[in-house]
């Protein structure tokens, strides 16, 4: 069945809700006909207001609400229109969702799922374009998912629901234009496992979310220049698939990271740590980190364009770094 990225998420949600009466979904404006990029369309009709409901704009309380509900075995999904709004709920996510299982000495789990859309294009500007997965990946106890395809978005969402730990799934707005085959029932994907999406020997390119597709373009361009890049799609940044990274870098002894967020204290940094601690290498070339420029996203289309990685620029940078 050919479905869109949004539809895949919707189907995964439906599959879980049909199987598990403890699963429910809520979000601010969830009744919107647009249905959060199609991901929540029809849920109310199918499951009733009891299991899919609109809520006041109160992110902090709504996040802790999920935690509380999950303590008694429910599987809540809190949908956020932008990842930027998670910052209002940081105290509940970090100080409560992530810590309650430990603080209680193992007396509880917190099987909640949070979805958050990462804005890009069409003037999202500084407060609607945040890709904050690194913040959550820093904190023990939270699984952080960054799907890149119709298939892995659906599979990861199923796994997040099945997990006993809190999960946050970051969805780049650009991915909603994707369409692909999806067979039902959707199979869960292992959380914390990446995938080699293109094999190569000269350079390991580690990517997440929509940057997996960008990395693919970069690899195409490099191939034309005789450079064979291996592209890894991490799918999760916490747990992160260190093994896959180390194995690939041990082979290529070059590494580049393609992130949707800022590079400093981010995914690039973490990949570098994994590499340096592993003793894989030593690297033959300088590492290249690609992501949002280290500034706040400008609204202007002219400026936004340059705020995100540009194909030619990245290819040149990579070629230069390889000497």
């Amino acid at each position: 069945m050919q479905v869109s990225f949004g539809e895949a998420i919707r189907l995964a949600t439906v599959q879980v809700m049909e199987a598990d009466s403890g699963a429910f979904v809520y979000g601010e404006g969830i009744n919107d006909p647009g249905g959060f990029f199609g991901t929540t369309v029809g849920l109310i009709d199918q499951f009733g207001e009891d299991r899919c409901f609109d809520v006041p704009n109160s992110e902090e309380c709504l996040t802790g609400f999920a935690v509380g509900a999950s303590l008694l075995g429910a599987h809540p999904l809190f949908v956020n229109l932008r990842a930027d709004f998670l910052l209002l709920a940081m105290n509940q996510i970090v100080n409560h969702a992530a810590k309650w299982p430990t603080m209680s000495g193992g007396q509880c789990n917190v099987p909640i799922v949070i979805r958050a859309i990462v804005g890009r294009e069409w003037g999202q500007a500084a407060q609607h374009s945040g890709a904050y997965h690194a913040l959550f990946a820093h904190v023990p106890g939270i699984d952080v998912l960054v799907p890149s395809t119709v298939k892995n978005a659906a599979g990861l969402l199923i796994s997040a629901f099945q997990s006993e730990r809190p999960s946050i799934m970051f969805e780049s707005k650009l991915l909603y234009t994707l369409n692909d085959d999806l067979s039902l029932p959707i199979q869960p994907l292992p959380i914390g496992k990446g995938e080699i999406v293109r094999e190569g020997t000269d350079l390991t390119m580690i990517a997440v979310s929509e940057q997996v597709h960008f990395a693919g373009q970069v690899a195409d361009d490099l191939a034309k220049k005789g450079i064979q890049a291996e592209v890894l799609d991490l799918q999760c940044v916490q747990p992160i698939d260190s093994e896959l990274i180390i194995e690939s870098v041990a082979k290529t002894r070059r590494v580049a990271v393609f992130d949707i967020g800022w590079t400093g204290f981010g995914l690039s940094s973490e990949v570098a740590r994994i590499v340096c601690e592993s003793g894989a290498g030593p690297l033959r070339s300088r590492m290249i980190s690609s992501g949002q420029e280290r500034q706040h996203t400008p609204a202007s289309c002219f400026r936004e364009y340059e705020h995100y990685p540009l194909l030619d620029k990245v290819v040149t940078q990579l070629v230069e770094s390889m000497g």
Binding site: G29, L87, Q124, A126, P298, A299, F302, Y305
Partner: protein, 328 residues
Amino acid sequence: MELNRELLLDLYSSMLTARFVDERIVDEYNNRNIRGPVHLSIGQEGIASGVLTSCRVTDCVVSTHRCHAHYLAKGGDMPEMVDELYGLPTGCCRGNGGSMHLFDRKVNMWGASAVLGGSIPLACGLAHSLKRKGDDICVAFIGDGGTDEGVFYEALNLTATLGLPVLFVVENNQLSTLTPLSKRQAQPDIAAKVRGFGIESVDVDGNDVIEVYSRAARLIASVRRDSAPRVLVANTHRLCAHVGPVIYQLGGIGGDDELEMKLGREPLNTFVTYVRDNCPGLLDAMDRRKCEILAAVDSAFAGAKERFAAQLAQTNLPAPPPPEPSRV
């Protein structure tokens, strides 16, 4: 409250400027060169104009994602706003802010947050600094959706406790995107909640600019006098999509009858009716103002479009993405 000719003309001009700018945005939006989300003020201009016409230029303002009318009514530079919408370096925020983050320091418009309730704490701090210098005050606009957020209640308590000169203006269009207030607040009387914090709070018909002006003027005078906060809850209707270039429609919310009722009570119509009934001698001057404003808006958009085209020619920007459905 003396409503002299000049004041009436100012209120009218202020509302009409916001209206014409927003209508022109709609006209231009299909060209896909205003490349960003737009949250229009159409139907709600009476609040911005009524409140801010009774402010000093040295009073400060902060606003929300729906900030066009606030920026303009505070005296923000109109051509710079239009340039900002077009993403130009000549825009009020040099292209960094866009429609949701209008800012004009010259007139003490200190910005707008697209995070609900986000600018409310800033208002508290601005008021603190103002209080230490004189009797200027800060006006903080917030939507009814913003009053779902806990920070609004923190701010009520903080301003009441520290004695900070803030006028909170709740623009109550009873909607947060498409979610009605009644689905979000079991007790929908926002002013009653505010009074629980020991703060004077007044409801007003936000579609009647004259009533808004006079209520706001009284509240602002009180805030100036005693450096204690006040809250004005202005009831209004959003006559446009939540975001996007769809105007004079209600979407899923209400049918034709309701639309007609709301159009009949929209602030410009209300104002013109008032003038026609009470001071028809003003209508000519109003028409002249209308022409001036139209000309100014024409000129601002013409200039911006020209600069946009010139800028575009210098870059290899890809074609804009296809339009997303508006959220009415």
